[in-house]
């Protein structure tokens, strides 16, 4: 065990945890103000729910000793034997519990990413059930395939440094399945749904960028030259992504936008994620730039094809993830990471690229099909979508009985009659506020 490595992974875990509130703000700023809390809630609550589920069952399915290349066994159920000493197969220089906790943070943010797609119309109960089940039947197996010793994609030799397939393509294609099942928001295509607070979205972007250093550099599982290289690549991916999207905006609309720069940074981060530990600085810039440009174009597809992906999870995470996974096959370089491989431009031929295609294809197919079926099931039981009246009112009031902001000068007056906190409360019909 190494204290420097341990210090680094503990801090990296904290950074990745911080990304989820960052995502909550990134998404929250983009919806209409009547939906800001509901949107934030769908990220924040994942911190609670997934943390607990990960300990109980998720981790062992993902990283328990391999069963046939597809899933982990139940040795680590309830974090049994996940202790203070290293598990050499997983990470030799840090406590096993530290590795498991680091992975927990990835498991939290991945389902949270999906929520951007069905923002502004999802029932909270449906979301909770979906997140819990999706973690177990989609995320845990995917993580096993790609990252666990014995996982079939890992064995195949496809590369995914920090989650291009497991996190981004997985969440992105699940998002597509989700919007196909759930349908469009009232008013989609007729007018714009203008972001209600872009400063919140920028803050979220800043936190995501900051936390992503833990996500990518932490995936080196130690404080070493590889971590340093991945750290740099991460920053360059974000930076070049921001520049790329800004250039597209500037060409198309004759001006750059802050939402474009923020979106571009995230797109660049998504694209660099699978490649971060396999490429040098100049390829990292290229990957970020291409990610930014392609995603800037891809977010327009929803208008053309008519699916209502509210906050562009498909356009950014699916498309950005694809860009990154495939470009890893192009730019990966053994000179940067000898545990990696040489991609097309490093003289490795089409071998790696082919494996990347297989990994991507398997992820797309598996995640789309299982997610689609899961959502159909939930729709038929608990239900996925708020009523039209609730959608008009906003999910904050309709689903959570709260409002995001209350700035009025005479705000103290906004509520006058307190129901007796315990007893009387139940008499007021909770749906009363609907149809404002």
């Amino acid at each position: 065990m190494d204290t420097g490595d341990t210090a680094f992974i503990l801090v990296a875990s904290a950074l990745v945890m911080f990304m989820t509130p960052g995502l909550a703000l990134f998404y929250g700023g983009m919806v209409r103000s009547k939906n800001v809390l509901g949107t934030i809630m769908q990220s924040i609550f994942a911190l609670g729910l997934v943390s607990v589920l990960w300990v109980l069952i998720g981790y062992t399915l993902a990283f328990g000793p391999d069963v046939g290349g597809f899933i982990g066994n139940l040795d680590f159920l309830g974090f049994k034997d996940v202790g203070a000493t290293p598990n050499d197969a997983l990470a030799a220089t840090i406590p096993h519990v530290s590795f498991a906790t680091f992975q927990m943070m990835f498991a939290i943010i991945t389902p949270a990413l999906i929520t951007g797609a069905f923002a502004e119309r999802m029932k909270f109960s449906g979301y909770v059930l979906f997140t819990a089940l999706w973690l177990i039947v989609v995320y845990a197996p995917m993580a096993h395939w790609v990252w666990a010793p014995g996982g079939w994609i890992r064995e195949l030799g496809a590369l995914d440094f920090a989650g291009g397939t497991v996190v981004h393509i997985n969440a992105g294609i699940a998002a597509l399945a989700a919007v196909l099942v759930i349908g469009k928001r009232k008013g989609f295509g007729q007018g714009a749904f203008i972001p209600h607070n872009l400063t919140m979205t920028v803050l979220g972007t800043g936190i995501l960028w900051f936390g992503w250093f833990g996500f990518n550099a932490g995936s080196a599982l130690g404080a070493n030259g590889l971590a340093a290289s991945a750290f740099l690549a991460t920053n360059l991916g974000a930076a070049a992504g921001a520049c790329g999207w800004a250039l597209v905006d500037a060409r198309k609309e004759r001006r750059s936008t802050i939402l474009g720069v923020a979106s571009g940074a995230v797109a660049g981060l998504v694209a660099i994620t699978p490649a971060a530990g396999f490429v040098g600085p100049l390829p990292a810039i290229a990957i970020g730039l291409i990610g930014g440009v392609v995603c800037a174009w891809a977010v327009g597809l929803k208008f053309r094809w008519g699916y209502d992906d509210s906050l562009d999870v498909v356009g950014v995470h699916l498309v950005g993830g694809l860009v990154g996974a495939l470009l890893t096959g192009v730019f990966a370089d053994l000179a940067i990471n000898e545990a990696g491989a040489d991609g097309l431009l490093a003289g490795g031929g089409f071998g790696l690229l082919g494996k990347q295609f297989v990994a991507v294809g398997a992820t797309l197919a598996f995640s789309f099909i299982v997610t689609y079926a899961l959502l159909k099931l939930i729709d038929a039981t608990v239900g996925l979508r708020v009523t039209e009246e609730e959608e008009v009112t906003g999910v904050d009031l309709a689903q959570h009985s709260e409002v995001g902001y209350s700035f009025s000068e005479s705000g103290s007056f906004t509520t006058a009659h307190q129901a007796t906190p315990s007893a009387g409360a139940a008499q007021v019909p909770a749906s009363e506020g609907s149809g404002i």
Partner: protein
């Protein structure tokens, strides 16, 4: 001339604007307001206690029109704003003695 003031549900603003345009009215002034009336506000929960909010958010429209357009305007608003449920709002009409367009100084119906 008259001024028609209407207090309606916020999410009906777009429909009302369309019915008004249908009636040939292209100008109005809109304010976010809070309405107190038969319709009670929503319920909020704050750390485990439920509270009744007294008001409902509304938007208030002001439209200055020539006397002979008043009925059309009222009809357009009624059509656009109605949901047949409590809290749809009210319209009231008051006299206006003069209207001036600031840019040109035009007065009376020409200023609309």
């Amino acid at each position: 001339m008259k001024i028609v003031v209407a207090v309606i549900k916020p999410f009906k603003l777009e429909d009302v604007k369309e019915t008004l345009e249908g009636a040939g009215i292209h100008g109005m002034t809109v304010t976010d307001v809070r309405g107190f009336g038969r319709q009670k506000g929503h319920t909020e929960v704050y750390r485990g206690a439920e509270y009744q909010v007294d008001f409902a958010p509304k938007v208030r429209l002001e439209i200055v029109v020539d006397d002979d357009r008043v009925d059309d305007v009222v009809k357009a608003i009624t059509t656009g704003a109605s949901t047949q449920s409590i809290g749809d709002g009210k319209i009231w009409i008051s006299p206006v003695e003069q209207v001036i367009r600031i840019r040109t100084g035009e007065k009376g119906p020409d200023a609309l």
